[in-house]
Subunit: 426 residues, 2 copies
Amino acid sequence: MPLTANDPTRTSWLDIPTHTDFPMQNIPFGVFLTRDDIITIGTRIGDYAIDLGALHQLGYFEGIQLTDDIFLQDSLNDFISDGKKTWRLVRNRISDIFLKDNSKLRDNEEHRKQVLFTLDEIEMQLPVDIGDYTDFYASKEHATNVGSLFRDPENALLPNWLRIPIGYHGRSSSIIPSGTPIRRPIGQTKPGDDGTPGFGPSKLLDFELEMAFITTDTNDLGKRVSVKEAEDYIFGLVLFNDWSARDIQAWEYVPLGPFLGKSFASTISPWIVTLDALESFRTEGPAQEPTPLPYLQQSKKNNFDIHLEAAIQPENGEETVVANSNFKYMYWSMAQQLAHHTVNGCNVRSGDMMGSGTISGPTKDSYGSMLELTWRGQNPLKLNDGSERKFIEDGDTVIMRAHCTRNGLRIGFGECSGKILPAIPF
Amino acid sequence: MPLTANDPTRTSWLDIPTHTDFPMQNIPFGVFLTRDDIITIGTRIGDYAIDLGALHQLGYFEGIQLTDDIFLQDSLNDFISDGKKTWRLVRNRISDIFLKDNSKLRDNEEHRKQVLFTLDEIEMQLPVDIGDYTDFYASKEHATNVGSLFRDPENALLPNWLRIPIGYHGRSSSIIPSGTPIRRPIGQTKPGDDGTPGFGPSKLLDFELEMAFITTDTNDLGKRVSVKEAEDYIFGLVLFNDWSARDIQAWEYVPLGPFLGKSFASTISPWIVTLDALESFRTEGPAQEPTPLPYLQQSKKNNFDIHLEAAIQPENGEETVVANSNFKYMYWSMAQQLAHHTVNGCNVRSGDMMGSGTISGPTKDSYGSMLELTWRGQNPLKLNDGSERKFIEDGDTVIMRAHCTRNGLRIGFGECSGKILPAIPF
């Protein structure tokens, strides 16, 4: 199945801003509420949201095997279950519909009215019903930094880290779409001198700059997928802010891992950018030494060159970019993660989400969390408005962005943002 | 709302075996496939499965506010969302329908044919669509034993354990109903002398004797529930076998907790016994010293006296009961667990499941896992057929049972069983 939609020479009859994250070659998938308060599956080109439910009802997907209501749903799960071939057919067809010389929709005002929305007319929703969410810990720099800060700088990287794509199960219920405000969490923290644990609003509220991939139905219970097959089961990626309360986390996480320090909220960008759209941004990952066990070995470029940034915007203030990182720093690729996740027979379903873990690069300005950027508050960051930050304060909005560029083509993810509201008093 | 259905003097026109787990006073909820291959929500009295979808269509729930299709679903989630008052009305009504002197269904053969099934005519399914599954670690004896075996006998209980109901997120997708066979998982284990991790079928496959509770919609994101309110949001309990591959777990679990050592399968008993049905089996939990923080303090009996047992049945052999424990040993009550889970604002939804963690008692025969019963294989168990077990072998079926008794009344959970099949070769 050719990736026609990726052709960089394709232009549209739609008016598309230059430098948009959403050119004709992106065609991501999402779920939104329309101006008529109807929920639908859609895509985005430039600054238009496009109602795929309406397009389908009007016959624009003729010839592709799709159930009548496949886009009239509040999640992409069923469409994702249709599999890679269908995703490609639909994405190519969308590209065709908006191609400069295709007059069918272009010259039908009645249809255009039903199909096209400006961004202020819609409200983005969570794109998938996330059954299980797993978070990996796949950046070597991040694992090393955290190991130094939480445990022992001399043995920062634990012995299993270079052998296993370390991951853990996260909380699905509290995953929210970009723009949803977040209450500062309350919880227990390490005891003071009298032995009684601290209790109250987190004082060390942090973001984690991550990406996450969304899977289709991958394997039945007891079966597994190989690294080679794994990408066939990955629908696409979103930006992901794995909000973390470091003081709650530090007290609770031994021996069973992070729990309430993470589960109060996790924010994703609402448009799923398909793996297909990212095809031309493949790159080598970091060298893997020691050589992974055979079931984790890979023979092609399974990393992706995606620039990532995180910014802090104080209440009523201008934003300051505080981190510049890249998805290519991931030591363990998505394909390795998915193969590892299923090696024990664990079944993976449509709509499951797997986070990368914080993506930190080699330089101090490429660290993906305040914990690392300020070295646990020792080196506060200066914001453009003159204020300083050790961690995230009430009223701050954290905004993440991601995009790839090559030969003038830019494929982006839009924003993943969330504002911190004060804790609800007890 | 009176718990009429709990009245121990109530008897039925149905023929109910003595010593059944499912007397008139139980009335659990489950989902099954009927002889006509229709999926429905049902209950069980004695050895009869009762189709609540059919009962509702025939008008037996008149006067109770229920949507027409509330029982014609493949999960209890929507019914559970209806809330405690509705659960009680329905359970009381079911009790009325089968009450000795109530002739309405008793004398209507046509209706009885549509409503009543023998157990060999049905196939039990997973009772809920489990959104998130959390596993706690709430037995002090178990945490102490595991701490001794995996870490340091001198400091077996970590400093946070007496302060926090320690828990972690588990994998929902691989939760299966009793009777589903399980493939021995494959995975990485600790490196040998050459530094290369081991890889292959788990050699230390274990069970964990647990119970789990199912919640209704508890709180919106950012809100919390108190210990006092918590039980209003608990629908009921099931038996739970949290299968564990100790060798995979030991190598992977630092620092983010158990992952593939658990996610290959977890088995639950198919009938959810309501918290209401267990009301008369309340008991004090263990004394909590030091006193928990205020948000975890409780003023009533929040533990339940439920006898638990685990048995091993070798292929073609007779079973041997290897563990006798009790749900009352839980140090942290379900109410404390749910209050803790939401204290940070994490939202809990209908159909979420929370496991107790392995329930071990004070004596060596009350330990809830092979790891503890054989002290990591040092003291193999002798089975009735003369064979020995350090851990679980291929062909073994692990069967768990649970029941409460008081004044001749027995409320039970049926069985939670699973057979281990050999690993699928690579």
